[in-house]
Symmetry: C2
Subunit: 711 residues, 2 copies
């Protein structure tokens, strides 16, 4: 452990290890572990590239063999200013030590990594030219930098602000789609015999890769290696916090205006049908019942039924209704009872009420659901700094579900700069098959993807769906992961058109076919100049570790990831690949894992990129600010610092699928850069110290692996 800053590095108290075999395992174990882990990272890189999903830049640099990436640096003036501000907080003596550390030539300062395009000087505080340790009056008297006053400007206008549904309408490509072994192939036209040269990953390849990962996670020496590295990472963060906490605090104070309340936070995992809290839903139902009792809301044995009649049949009136009767909140009895939890989506235990109030596709075309979502959106507008990525369902029972969903959104004008949608696909093939709604799994896939390919080939064929999709950022796969299944795939498995069993395909099978078709769809859409999608499945909330292997290969990021706590190899791999994980400890607390045992603080300490999300405010939260409640409880239970909380918030923005310009406005122009260059403390309130620590720690880990594999 020592304090040693090189010029051009963010100065802070660094913990470093010196010696020859710094990983603490025998060299042969290290070599073997390195080659396995690097090959796994290589696999993920391939899957991400093929699908057009993002992959962590620094890892890609290592994998490309273009030498080890330099530690990202900034010019010295940037730090001068930060010191100016921080000096007041930390006292002169310490400050002078800092100043000495930062003396460096401006030539060195310009020695920035090549990946550094787009890093424009006016964003780097270059207006502060001198290191003037006596002028601490910056806060009160210095002119605000352009980037600070930026905040006073309106947010970047996108065409959407004028007409939220406005978007380019590419012309018909007249391509033809044909299904082959469960994956769409796109052909130039009906006559073409060879599909377009879109890249993809065959199922057999996927099975092979998945099995490789499955072998890896149970490999003894590799387990020990990963466990040791994770323990090391955990200790290192503890030391970092002890040594740098006060400096992090001082730097945060030095940022004018910004604090945890006004940094942007995205709720990256929330379901639309449960995005309001219980009291909100109750009030909405009561109000609707008072004002619209005579509306026909459903059919009962074919006959129209008014809202009043629905409630009369349940022997309920608006006044009587209370939160206890509504009975949507998770309680002691939902723990390890996903079935009971699912039933909580039915207000008053009545699926009819769910249909009337919480569905997009019902007798009234989801009008009530649209209204309550719009109320939630209004609240978000008032809160200003909170954004959400709610899930809407496509069940794949029927081909016209997409049409109905899009038409629901457009007719009711359900949209907001605060909202981007994910589409969740419940893994319910078995139910539909048993009820003879489907004949085989291929039909399930048809219902999911056919409309998407058609509208992407010819947007004018379905303008509503085309427009709606511009607000959709990806796909989620949902259901109880703890349901028994045979998690192992093999190459000779039935293909979807032959999968006519009443049994559900395993998780990893579902996920592959969502991925594989999304790969094709994304290439088609990219060609058309349209937005592409990511896969962000529920993954590792429960169930076997294979789910998380599938996620590692196929998903840009995931929700939950609880299972990682039991699988050190995967945990370390998720760390190395810097895969975002949207965690919902309150949800877990009601379903799978008591709050105080939640691995979030541990993952966070080790440097896995986690975020805090609410999952289901309807079932779990009490206040009118569910995301803030989630943060508050985490902060209290785990004694998170303001820096920790701002880092979680920054992660949530980076993970999210909001437009590039908005992300730049929220967390900094260069947010796509790894390390401190990608951070803008004036927007994120996260000190560069923290980001540098994370970045350097990761590079050290990667360095350990790539060094021996290169030797």
């Amino acid at each position: 452990m020592g304090v040693a800053d090189s010029p051009n590095q963010v100065p802070f108290q660094r913990v470093s290890v010196s010696g020859i075999h710094v990983t603490g395992v025998p060299l042969e174990d290290l070599i073997r572990a390195a080659s396995l882990l690097i090959s796994a990272l290589g696999l993920r890189q391939h899957y991400m590239e093929v699908s057009g999903q993002s992959f962590y830049k620094s890892v890609a640099q290592y994998l490309s063999g273009r030498g080890l990436p330099q530690r990202n640096i900034r010019n010295k003036n940037h730090y001068s200013m930060i010191f100016d501000k921080a000096l007041k907080q930390i006292g002169t003596e310490e400050a002078e030590r800092y100043l000495q550390m930062t003396i460096c030539s401006s030539d060195e300062a310009l020695d920035q990594p090549s990946a550094h395009d787009g890093y424009s000087p006016q964003h780097s505080f270059s207006h502060v030219n001198e290191l003037n340790a006596t002028s601490f009056i910056h806060r009160a008297s210095a002119p605000r930098s352009s980037i600070e006053s930026h905040e006073d400007l309106a947010e970047p206008l996108t065409p959407m602000d004028l007409d939220p549904w406005a978007c380019p309408m590419p012309s018909d490509r007249r391509y033809e789609c044909r299904w082959r072994r469960g994956v769409v192939r796109v052909y130039r036209d009906a006559a073409a015999e060879v599909p377009l040269p879109y890249r993809y990953v065959p199922f057999t390849q996927y099975v092979e890769d998945l099995n490789r990962l499955s072998d890896m996670i149970s490999d003894g020496p590799l387990k020990s290696f990963c466990y040791r590295r994770l323990s090391y990472l955990s200790s290192k963060f503890k030391m970092h916090a002890l040594l740098n906490e006060l400096h992090e605090q001082a730097l945060q104070k030095a940022v004018p205006h910004r604090d945890f309340y006004n940094v942007r936070k995205v709720d990256t995992h929330i379901h639309a049908a449960s995005c309001m809290n219980q009291k909100h839903l109750l009030r909405f139902i009561k109000r609707t019942l008072r004002q619209h009792a005579a509306e026909v809301v459903t059919l009962h044995k074919g006959a129209p039924m008014t809202l009043r009649a629905v409630f009369e049949e349940m022997q309920l009136d608006a006044y009587d209704l209370n939160v206890d009767i509504l009975d949507v909140h998770a309680d002691r009895n939902t723990f390890h009872r996903f079935d009971k939890f699912n039933a909580k989506y039915n207000p008053v235990g009545e699926s009819r009420l769910r249909e009337v109030f919480l569905k997009t596709d019902n007798h009234m075309n989801g009008q009530y659901f649209a209204s309550i979502i719009k109320e939630v959106i209004m609240d978000l507008r008032e809160t200003k700094y909170t954004y959400v990525e709610p899930r809407l369902s496509i069940y794949c029972k029927n081909r016209n579900e997409w049409d109905k969903l899009a038409s629901w959104a457009l007719r009711n004008d359900v949209h907001s700069p605060h909202v981007r949608w994910l589409v969740q696909v419940p893994r319910l093939y078995d139910i539909y098959r048993i009820n003879k709604l489907l004949n085989n799994f291929q039909e399930f896939l048809n219902n999911l993807f056919d409309p998407l390919f058609q509208v992407s080939i010819d947007p004018n064929s379905n303008p509503e769906l085309h427009k709606f999709l511009t607000h959709v950022i990806g796909f989620d796969s949902v259901d109880d992961e703890s349901k028994p299944e045979n998690p192992h795939l093999h190459a000779a498995m039935k293909t979807p058109e032959h999968w006519d069993d009443e049994e559900n395909p395993p998780y990893a099978y579902y996920l592959y076919y969502m991925y594989a078709n999304m790969v094709m769809l994304n290439q088609l859409r990219k060609e058309q100049g349209l937005n592409t999608f990511v896969l962000r499945p529920h993954c590792g909330e429960a169930g076997p570790p294979t789910h998380m292997c599938a996620g590692f290969l196929l998903a840009e990021n995931i929700s939950h990831g609880l299972i990682l706590r039991k699988v050190p190899v995967l945990q370390y791999m998720y760390y190395l690949a810097q895969i975002f994980i949207a965690m919902s400890p309150l949800s877990n607390n009601s379903l799978f894992l008591r709050y105080h045992r939640n691995p979030l603080p541990d993952f966070f300490a080790k440097g896995l990129r986690v975020t805090l999300s609410t999952d289901d405010p309807l079932q779990f939260h009490y206040t009118r600010e569910p995301l803030m409640e989630e943060y508050s409880i985490a902060a209290q239970a785990w004694k998170l610092s303001s820096c920790d909380m701002c880092e979680l918030a920054r992660n949530s923005v980076l993970m999210s699928g909001f437009p590039h310009e908005m992300k730049q406005y929220w967390v900094g122009a260069d947010y796509q850069e790894d390390g401190p260059c990608g951070n803008d403390i004036t927007r994120t309130n996260v000190p560069d110290i923290r980001i540098s620590f994370r970045h350097e720690t990761l590079l050290d880990e990667l360095g350990n692996l790539f060094k021996v594999s290169a030797d």
Copy 2:
């Protein structure tokens, strides 16, 4: 364990123990324990009576030897109706078993305890005359009972709603006060030689009683006895919950309209200077700085200083200010550092900002503080169901503090039906003495009590103070209890007029002189027809157990009580006496005890009467609903049921000092009755089952003790 309901009892699954020596300890131990505990209860009863503070009725009945009190019952129709409602929830078979249990003659039903005055039939659901197991349509079709529709009415109007400061003005009694050994004596007139025959407890008596309690808590056999009983209580509650949880839930559902959100909750422990959250204070400061920069807010070396100048001196402007700079939130560094925590009351670490924004007595007569308190009050009005009892400070440095405080409240019109004040007295004699502001402890007491006696003898002598006191419900004693002190009192201690040491008197000494003078004051005020006060000190947040012995004798109820977890005898005594304890686990989490180790759920299970309170939203909470946040975290961390939460809320109303009529309106006309008769589920949302369980359990415990002592 068995299921056995006697007629007229609330029917539920009862856990009972049969045998001869049901306490599980040798008879001689039991006899000895009983006599010690009963004498302790007798002591408390005496101290409460003398001071006009309340004492738990059933315990008083036992102590009076008027035979064992009957288990409070209700007429059968009450239960009929509840069953009607509950049946739908619990299924017919079980329901029929219930029905059989409740068959009882109406003569028996009228056999109610004598203490039952004021229990009027129209409040007891007597409009439901028949037990009709087939008509479950109550919810939708039954006419609402008078008590239900009551809710639609406005809250009871008090004279205060018209003029909040209106109150009777008794005429001058021309009494004279003379201090004697630190306690005021009241004389008929200046010539009288014998004081009025007010009751009181001499210091020597108090010391003797306190030492008796101190001996008791370290008595080995008694410790074992109490520990066993407490463990039994804890197990009994667990069984109760397992067996009755679903019925409690069903009964809650059967109550129209009422749920946890619209039961009244009182924040029984909160400090006025920290009753807003950090974001609220930040916004207030920013707004004030923008709008009133030119106002003179303080004196600097005798010269007037504007708000602008204050901020310029700190090199801060309104835009720059953020929550991090404000730095009022508790963090990892406040744990076991009460001194650091206290410093958090200074925004930006500047005591001047505290003076300008958070004091009633400053250059601008506390105008800003009044404004922000009024904003908090406005929020409470909107939330509707939340009430607060904030603490305002009297430091006792100066005789005119009371005048200034009252004049602050009246001039700024700071009042609300949502607010009743407590006056907190920081135990800071030593600081004032060292700074030569006081010569002895008697002067401290003079500054605290002289103005109160004067205005109570002749309200017209100080109408503002007189009016202000009608909104004050009691006294709090505050400071760091973990400061080293010699906690033991002895009869030969210096009296206040001779206490001129630079050392602070011990906690128990402070508390006695506050109590003893309050005793006199209450008797005087009662004679004048004025409201009286209670003692609700911070007690047992840390420090030696003696604090809690003093609290047991002197205080109607207390804040914190954490220390009870280490002292089984005291814990059992607080249980037997049913002393309310306002607990603040989030505050403890930042200062003295990690959240997951907080004894609240344990105390609650055993039947100690605890409430949830916030203490300092400025330092601990994140959302705009701090009390709801406190409940939410407790509910999540400890998996509280809706019934548990509503019981906590009911406790908070019972504990509070709000007017009798408001309490009746909030929790039921007969709230002063012990047991289910005092409960009105339509207002509290707490099923009688729960209240009966608590009541019967307490009577069993008391019965065990009084039986052997009577034998």
